[in-house]
């Protein structure tokens, strides 16, 4: 939406993951009932979003420059966040696998599935729908879309563009941190997770198209399914297959599958 390529969103994801673990550990010690842990994870993700405006201020200095510089600046943030995480949480992976046991399992259509996974899928769907509603039907959403299409015009119409950018960015950060927090029980929190995520996020965005929510959704789905299929059939091809698709998309439909008409 803001036409910024933010390599650091992987770092927000990672931050969310680590902070989520810490939050749940505190919650456990505080005696919060286990069933509520998922709420704790979400809440911790949201809490972290406060860094959003700060980061946005930093990125603001280079909005008008070549996109390569945006990439570089966010890459710088990636490096910095890696060590911030290392500083607070050390280098060993953190686990929270026990959370799975708390929620148990369920049978869905003949397949046994951990309830937690279902909850996350539902949450993702809810968040996606919520974002769609936010952007499509609320006043805030309209302003965001207008500003994305034509910054000068929006400013001329009285929109406080910097505030919009700050909020959108924070929203983006929150999505990242919450996402990271939610994924904890399924995978461990590791130092490299931010960097590895960026690779997948990049694939998702390219396939779905920059600036399209629907695209991101479909892209994410595609990448996830592709990886799962690849792992199941021919493990070595896993990430390779994703990259081949990325290249194919970039070549055939450079704007992605659901691109909006570029400004």
């Amino acid at each position: 939406m803001q036409r910024i390529i933010n390599l650091a969103c992987g770092s927000f994801y990672a931050l969310g993951a680590y902070f989520g673990i810490t939050a749940v550990t505190w919650a456990m010690r505080a005696g919060v009932p286990p069933a509520l842990f998922i709420l704790v994870l979400v809440a911790s993700g949201l809490a972290l979003a406060v860094i959003g405006p700060v980061i946005e201020r930093v990125l603001r200095t280079i909005y008008d420059r070549d996109e390569s510089f945006q990439l570089l600046l966010t890459f710088a943030l990636v490096l910095m966040f890696e060590d911030v995480i290392r500083f607070f949480w050390g280098t060993a992976p953190h686990q929270m696998g026990s959370l799975y046991l708390v929620y148990g399992q369920a049978r869905v259509g003949g397949v046994t599935v951990p309830v937690y996974n279902l909850i996350v899928i539902a949450a993702a769907g809810l968040i996606a729908a919520g974002m769609g509603w936010l952007l499509g039907r609320t006043r805030f959403g309209r302003i965001v879309r207008a500003t994305a299409e034509n910054r000068e015009m929006a400013a001329a119409l009285g929109v406080d563009v910097s505030r919009v950018y700050s909020r959108v960015f924070t929203l983006g950060v929150a999505l990242g941190t919450v996402g990271g927090a939610l994924v904890i029980p399924a995978t461990a929190a590791m130092n490299e997770m931010g960097i590895e995520l960026i690779v997948e996020a990049f694939a998702v965005v390219v396939i779905g198209g920059l600036g399209s929510m629907r695209g991101a959704f479909v892209g994410a789905l595609l990448v996830g399914v592709l990886k799962a299929v690849a792992i199941a059939t021919y493990a070595e091809v896993e990430m390779l297959a994703v990259y081949v698709i990325v290249i194919a998309v970039l070549v055939l439909r450079p704007a992605g599958l659901f691109a909006r008409a570029a400004a």
Binding site: L71, R86, V199, V246
Partner: protein, 319 residues
């Protein structure tokens, strides 16, 4: 008159100092300098693409890795130890790979070019990582000590070899590479590249075959990258997949920016400063990535023309 002389004096001094390091600085600093030669060569090529043609590649590490793995295959796989052969082979491999990749990538510009090159870089990384039987997976492949100009230097231990004959071989190679690049950049071809960077549309109207020239620049950059990769791999003795990872490409861009992409010597300076900075910072704190990130951020925001930019007196973009 004085102004015109200073760059030559500075250059001569730099050359002299670099040649003196093994004698004056000892094994530690000489070993530290070894990656410098490799990165400097690779960056010279990369800057032809970015500084002179305006295409920023986020997958240039691909060619460094190609060079390293070619060296590994030849030395430990095929028993070919002549360094000159290895270098030549790396250049050939680079061209072979760069032709299809380049043909595809130069049809796109700016961010799409960056994304495509990044994707190819990561594609190669996944290949290197996953196809264990071919590439050794995350363990990598060994690179054995090569014969320099046919000489084994058998009497020398590893460190002596690296800080002695290999060091000067690398320095000579860098000088050769710089000389070649200097000619390229000051040729009619170089001028056309710059016109493409400045205004590709107008360049076409003036009869410049934009896409074709971008492709040539890409090929040249690839060759320099592969040669740099070979130079890098010998001291470590290892070719590993991480050489192709996107963060490695990111470091290359960092070096370019740090040294200054608007200047011929920027890439060389950038490689040098990065290597030393890395050494200093790494020994000072385990959180060197944070420091590096901060430095990169500062450079991007305040000194986009890098150190050479400061030297030449331009701090802001547009100069």
């Amino acid at each position: 008159m004085r102004g015109a002389v200073i760059p030559y004096v500075a250059g001569a001094a730099a050359l002299f100092l670099t040649a003196a390091v093994p004698f004056v600085g000892g094994a530690y600093y000489a070993t530290l300098m070894l990656p410098f030669f490799g990165y400097a060569v690779a960056l010279l090529g990369m800057n032809l693409l970015f500084g002179y043609t305006g295409l920023l590649s986020f997958g240039h590490a691909l060619f460094i890795a190609l060079g390293a793995y070619t060296a590994a295959y030849l030395t430990s796989g095929a028993g070919v130890l002549h360094f000159e052969v290895v270098l030549l082979a790396a250049a050939v491999v680079a061209v072979v790979v760069a032709v299809p990749v380049g043909l595809l990538c130069v049809r796109y510009v700016k961010i799409y070019f960056g994304m495509l090159t990044l994707a190819f870089g990561m594609l190669f990384y996944s290949f290197l990582y996953k196809f264990y039987h071919l590439t050794g997976g995350d363990e990598g492949m060994r690179v054995l000590r090569p014969l320099l100009l046919g000489q084994p230097f058998a009497g020398l231990g590893k460190v002596q070899f690296l800080t002695g004959p290999y060091y000067f071989y690398g320095l000579t190679l860098l000088l050769l590479a710089a000389a070649v690049m200097w000619r390229l950049v000051h040729s009619p071809f170089g001028l056309c590249l710059r016109s493409i960077r400045e205004n590709p549309e107008k360049a076409e109207y003036v009869g410049v075959r934009v896409r074709r020239f971008r492709f040539y620049a890409f090929l040249i950059a690839a060759v320099f990258g592969a040669v740099g990769g070979v130079l890098l791999a010998v001291p470590t003795g290892l070719a590993d997949p991480l050489l192709a990872y996107w963060t490695h490409s990111g470091n290359l861009v960092f070096m370019l920016l740090l040294g200054g992409f608007s200047s011929f010597f920027g890439p060389i300076l950038g490689a040098f400063v990065f290597i030393f900075l890395q050494d200093v910072v790494m020994s000072a704190t385990p959180y060197w990535r944070f420091v590096f990130g901060a430095i990169l951020a500062l450079v991007v925001i305040f000194f986009p023309h890098g150190l050479m930019g400061l030297v030449e007196g331009r701090a802001r973009m547009g100069a």
